[in-house]
Symmetry: none
Subunit: 130 residues, 4 copies
Amino acid sequence: MQALVIDPAAHEPVYGQIARQLREAIASGTLAPGRALPAVRTVAGDLGVNLNTVARAYRQLQDEGFLEITERAGARVAAPSEGSSRERLDPLRRDLRTALARLRQAGVPVPDLKKMLEAELAALGGRRRG
Amino acid sequence: MQALVIDPAAHEPVYGQIARQLREAIASGTLAPGRALPAVRTVAGDLGVNLNTVARAYRQLQDEGFLEITERAGARVAAPSEGSSRERLDPLRRDLRTALARLRQAGVPVPDLKKMLEAELAALGGRRRG
Amino acid sequence: MQALVIDPAAHEPVYGQIARQLREAIASGTLAPGRALPAVRTVAGDLGVNLNTVARAYRQLQDEGFLEITERAGARVAAPSEGSSRERLDPLRRDLRTALARLRQAGVPVPDLKKMLEAELAALGGRRRG
Amino acid sequence: MQALVIDPAAHEPVYGQIARQLREAIASGTLAPGRALPAVRTVAGDLGVNLNTVARAYRQLQDEGFLEITERAGARVAAPSEGSSRERLDPLRRDLRTALARLRQAGVPVPDLKKMLEAELAALGGRRRG
DNA sequence: GTGGTCTAGACCACG
DNA sequence: GTGGTCTAGACCACC
C-alpha cells in the first residue's frame, strides 16, 4: 500500500491522519479483509511518532469496525458488518448530512454533488467482500 | 421553524447542537436565504444558555457560509456560494468520504447507501435558491 | 472527609489508590450522594500528581456508577442504581467469589468470614440514600 | 472435574482463565485437598495453549495457597491455611470491600446482597476439610 | 515480539 | 474555571 504521510503541523491530529489514511485504504479495497497490518511499533518508528499515537489510531479503527485487534496476533483488516442498529447508524448519518450540507453551501451545485457521490460510491463498491 | 432542542448533558457541545440544528434548517430550506435570525441574546434567553455559546454557533455558521452577520442588521441566512476553490472543498469532500466509509463498514449495504444518499439529496434539492 | 493518602512506590497504581479511597468513602456514606468533589486540578495539586492521574480515577468511578461527571459542573457523588442487568453484575459477582475463596484459603474460617461480611454489610447499610 | 474452557480472544488473560476456574473448583470442593492435578504439559496440550501459560496459572494458585507444587510429584490441591497474618489478609479484605461496594452501587439492594453472600458462603462451606 | 498500561506535560474546548 | 485531548516515554502483561 501507499506509505502513510504525516504532517505534524496540521490541525488534524496525528492519530487522526493515520486512522483516516488507513480507513480510506480499507474502504477502497487497497487493504483487503484479513490482511495483517504492520505492528504499531513498526509504524511508529517509520513515521517518527510515539507508539501510543499509532495505537490510538488502530484502536479507533477497531471501534469503527475496520480492524480486528488481538494482543498477540496483531491487527487485521475486518470484513464489513452485515447489519447494524439504528442507534449506531444515526450519528453516522448525521455526519453524512452535515458533510453534504456544507459542500452544497460551499458552492457545489446539486448535480455536481450527485456526480461526486457516484464517484465515491464506485470506489466503495469496488471493494472486495470478506 | 421548529424550536431548538438543547441537551446540556450531551456529549455534543451546546454550541454544536445549536449550529447543527440551524444548519439543517438552512440546508433543507426551512430557513430561506435572506431570512433574519433572532438576536443572539434572544436565543440565549430562550434556551437558558450563555450568550457566548449562541454567538459561537452563529460564528461557526458564518465561517461555513450559512450565515451573513453584520453588526447592525444581525444574522441573515446566506445564499449558497456559486463556486468554490479546491482548497476549500477538499477537506469537506474528505469528511464526506469518511462518513460514507463508516456507514458502509457499520453494515449499510451499498444499494441502501445509494437510497440514503438520494433521500438526503432530495432534502437538499427542495431548498429554495437565493 | 479524610485526606487521601498516596504511596507512589506501591504496587497499586496511583489512580487506583485514589479511586479506591473515594469509592470507600462513598460506599460508607462519608461522601453523601449529591456532594461535589474537589476539581481534578485541586486534588492533583494537593497530592503532587498529574492532573490526568486524578482524572482517570474520577472517570473510573464514573464508569462504576459512583460519580456523575459533567464538564462544566465538575464531579458529584451519584446515588446507587436501582437495578441492573445480569451482564453487568456477573463480572462483579465473579470478583466477589474470588475474594471470598482467597480469604478462606488464606486461613479465615467460614464462621469468621461470616462475621467479616456482616461488618462490611453494616458499613454499606449505614449509607444514606439519595 | 469439569473441563476447562478457554476463550483466547477474551479480555481476561488465558492464564487468568485457567487459574480462576481451578480456584473455583478447589474452593467449592470439586477438587479436594491432596488431589493431584494433571501435569502442566498435559493441560497445555489439551487446551492448545503454551506450556508457560499453564505453568503461570499453577504458580499463581501456589502463591495464593491453593496448590502445593513439588518438582517430582507435580501439583496437588492444598488444604486451606489455619491462620494468617493481618498483613496477608488486609489486601484480600480490601478486594472484598471493593467487590461489595461495586455490587451495591450497580443496583443490588443490601438484602439481595446478603442472600448472594449466603449462597457463596454455602458453596464454600460445602468444601471438605484437609 | 505483540498490544497495552501508567504517568506526565502542554494545550484545548467549553461555558 | 471546569473536564478533556494529544502526544510522549518508560514500563508491563502476555504468549
